[in-house]
Symmetry: C2
Subunit: 647 residues, 2 copies
Amino acid sequence: MTESPASYTDVLIIGAGPSGLMAAYWMARCGVNARIIDKRGTKVFTGQADGLRPRTLELLDSIGVVHRVLHEACEAAEFSFWGPGEDGRLERQEQHPIHDVNASPFGNCLLNQGRIERFILDAIKDCSDLEVERGVIAESLEYDETLESSGDVYPITVTLRTLSEEEASPSSTGGSGGVRNGLFRSNITPDDWDDLIKKSKERPGNVETVKAKYLIGCDGAHSWTRKQLNIPFEGSTTEHIWGVVDMVPITDFPDIRRVCTVATDHGTLLVIPREKQLVRLYLPLQAVDGTLASLDRSSITLDMIRQKAKQMLKPFDFDFKICDWWTVYQVGRRLASNFTKGRIHLAGDAIHTHSPKAGLGMNMSMQDGFNIGWKVALVAKGIARASILATYELERKRTAQMLIDLDRRLQPLFVKAQEGDSAESAAPSNGKETLVDVIQLSIAFSNGYVCHYGPSSLVHKGGEDIAANLIPGERFPPAKIRNQADGRAWWTTRLFTGDGRFRIVLLAGDLRREDQRQRVVTFSAHLASAGSVLQRYRSEGEKLDSLIEVITIHSAPVREMDFFDFPEMLRLFDQERGWAYDRIWSDDECLWDRQSTGKAYGSWGVDRIRGALVILRPDQHIGWVGNIEDVDGMTGYFEQILVPITA
Amino acid sequence: MTESPASYTDVLIIGAGPSGLMAAYWMARCGVNARIIDKRGTKVFTGQADGLRPRTLELLDSIGVVHRVLHEACEAAEFSFWGPGEDGRLERQEQHPIHDVNASPFGNCLLNQGRIERFILDAIKDCSDLEVERGVIAESLEYDETLESSGDVYPITVTLRTLSEEEASPSSTGGSGGVRNGLFRSNITPDDWDDLIKKSKERPGNVETVKAKYLIGCDGAHSWTRKQLNIPFEGSTTEHIWGVVDMVPITDFPDIRRVCTVATDHGTLLVIPREKQLVRLYLPLQAVDGTLASLDRSSITLDMIRQKAKQMLKPFDFDFKICDWWTVYQVGRRLASNFTKGRIHLAGDAIHTHSPKAGLGMNMSMQDGFNIGWKVALVAKGIARASILATYELERKRTAQMLIDLDRRLQPLFVKAQEGDSAESAAPSNGKETLVDVIQLSIAFSNGYVCHYGPSSLVHKGGEDIAANLIPGERFPPAKIRNQADGRAWWTTRLFTGDGRFRIVLLAGDLRREDQRQRVVTFSAHLASAGSVLQRYRSEGEKLDSLIEVITIHSAPVREMDFFDFPEMLRLFDQERGWAYDRIWSDDECLWDRQSTGKAYGSWGVDRIRGALVILRPDQHIGWVGNIEDVDGMTGYFEQILVPITA
């Protein structure tokens, strides 16, 4: 056995699923020295998670790939509720459009996880050399807590082992005529991490010791990282086995291309239309007595799923010949008691599991990775204080808890009342709520319009009187605004690129009024002064906007203002590139896009004359809201977060 | 010298610029045995053509790449006219939005030719193994006219020679500090084709004889193919030298990020904003005495262009430090007297040259390639009659002539009156027209909303009383319609995929009315009958929609109809894939896209109750319009075009 000397990396990410890749994106984009490993030899290609919520699409817009998602994905345009009518026959009971254009540029859409991972991988490649090291497993983890607060040290030691090709390629072919299934990743199958390490040790393998400053564990529900940290994964597994199948349906059920719940005597079926003529079905297969020991695994076949679907969709005909992927799972509803231990953070399924029925798993995981990623990146680069890392658990644990609560409320509505899992099925409300109620109530949460991040160094609450709907902790409500220099209409989700910078968004109000113009001039003069955050946190040789970008959105019509009417600090001059034309915008109606433009100030609850001042974090969440005069409040925000520059 | 025996290909394309690649796309998509060669060793990366018009974007939508263009391109949102005010100082005189949402889903945008070629190359790769053979030149062409009408024969013989790497890589670096320039491709530089062949012959090269059924020459203004055919290239070269530069401006000219014409005493400057902070300028550099012999080539430098721009933009400051590309050219306004000789067709600059100021060069070339491509592909596959090839020259020559006329009218408006090229500058109208007039008048033509294709076997005029705005020969006016099965809103430009199929578009009207439902049932019964074009032109083993796809667009709200209300022939059943959910659409308003939906019947001039019947060619141009009862007219259209199936 040969061991090479230890190598060093600032950040090590274990697991290259949606959460790990999102975290890796930030390392790539911010130029952090990082590595990312995955035990599987290849990425996933079919099946797995598939639903993308508006907020996730907004994040994908900020990293420049949403156009590819929208091109390939299946938009879920409408939602139908089916159930027995008075004659007992299945009938459509309600139908709703899904996309609320006033809430997000994006609706809901479906695309397999493999493609989404591909797009994030491409975004990583576009800005760095960071590559996923596949077929690599971690086999030991040491964490030296005594070094935790020492800054530029490597308290984490991980031993990595390169697997053989065979070990890294689990069989994904089940018994059903070569159709790929996901049983090997299912939670009814035991985890193979320990086995892989054991087997791999029997041959002279490539073993490497890596020392890291930070570690992000994104290694799934069976998380090896979580186990090394002895972090409890609390909750329970319910008694129902569920089936999932991606297939091309042959049916006369009229809403097979709409998102549907179909309530029947045999439980509730969930229908999700997908790309390439595929439709996904989720269906309750059987109740299992307490533990999985009682489950006859050989009984779980694609045909079992087919028969159940046929039964549930009666009197409509249903069958399929083309099946792309299928799996079965048991609902495990668990939450890690900690998301963080010192410099080690967990994300994605490693910290929360739940049923896929809320269609949120991949979204939550990507949002976890997005949240921890920029924080670790800025701290690893020495830009932000290490104290901001504590906000990760604060912010994401509450969200994860809300998700699990939602899932718990949905569960009894999907299985037959008499089969409902006894202990857990008691709905937190009066037990009489219907699926329609729960789904309608949870839309803002599910779609990611609200997330309830609490107060912290990164979230200063307040400012309700200045901007009623710009709530610190929440995402900046997207708007389509017009560029002052060229007249183009752009979504803020794309404008506020995920490049690791904070943003001061100056909602400048109406500069046609002299008093308001004077307020903006005074603010700009402050930005130019030696005491402004732009000047104070600027590293030697760096540009004035390298860490904090100032974006102005005024409320006068584009035609009545000129780019050069705005103070120079708002449109920074560059010796080589001239004026920054992408900094001055207007909440002006656009002749060729009336539906989406000219309404931003109103939707933000901001006075069109007086405007407001907003700080956005790199993830487009609102950090602080104040008046244009409140430069002290603005400065104070950054003082808590950023590392002072030492001359 | 070694010569291998002749190889055979159905279609040979010479030149892999925008027109050649568009033609190649059809070969790839339709599965035609084809080859495409280019004398250059690498594709272009910077500079060249840049403007994309709405019609071109519609075509790019039909081949599935427009989302990539829109993501990277710079949208040209507004157009400004600048000129001297009463005090002689430059001022903005007019400003107009560019995108007319009622005319096209797309506005105008700018992106360098290299990226556009990349997207078409990717579209080709997605459906075939066809690759551009680079660094390959044609050195002889023989055409055996006696074989012309003999069907499955190879009347064309071309000798190809593989160039050395050095020969295939012309220096693109000028004298100005390593900035890439386009002088080697400029029309003030002599063509190097003959030189390349001569030099290449001196070494033992790889020579190959290729026999082809069809040849498409897309080899630029100096077209070698055109010369072999002795086709006159008529017109003249004007006396002005023009400069073009792509640079990042440093200026206080307020509209530098808008499309502008700036009229000055020194002629008119054209400003075109581009991607990556670049701006392109077109400017008149100097009058040359008659022939290029009088031109001092060493005087043409980047600095000459810089100084001229500074002078023209006074009193505004102007300069640049970053230059991406520059070139100079002389306006050559020429039209080939024939576009076709037997089985050989020419496309793009090989048949028309003009100034780039109308911003149409690349668009016209791509549209040429798109037009000839599908025709040659369907004929080469034995699906369509060879007689349809004659429509290429008929359709594209008139368009090219219109382009040259437009360019001729624009020219005198761009140079100083006293310097205007004498013979040509006489505007066809009264000479008093202004730039604003000409541009406004030519918008429908420039944007590609009208093209005036004349009557032919592919264009049966008529039907004005049935659909006032569906004019045979013109493109199908795009509309956003809703899918009956899933409720999604889609543009017709994407729905009518460029896959080589004709389409019968059944504008089914309002099926809530029994009389109208009966008309549609009768029509569908005809489709099912043995005499229908679907049945008659179906090859053995092929699906019923493999050559002609039927798309239904009805006018009732989606909610008031059901997918299964429509006759089976309109939603063909497939044994493996079930019902074709992508065939039934509605001109229904969409809650989340009110601006673009629910107006299609009105814009087409079609009665919402009675509907109409439309035949679309594979390029989305209208071939025929009739009443739903007029199955004879519909059948007659296809009888003239398609090759009967022999049992």
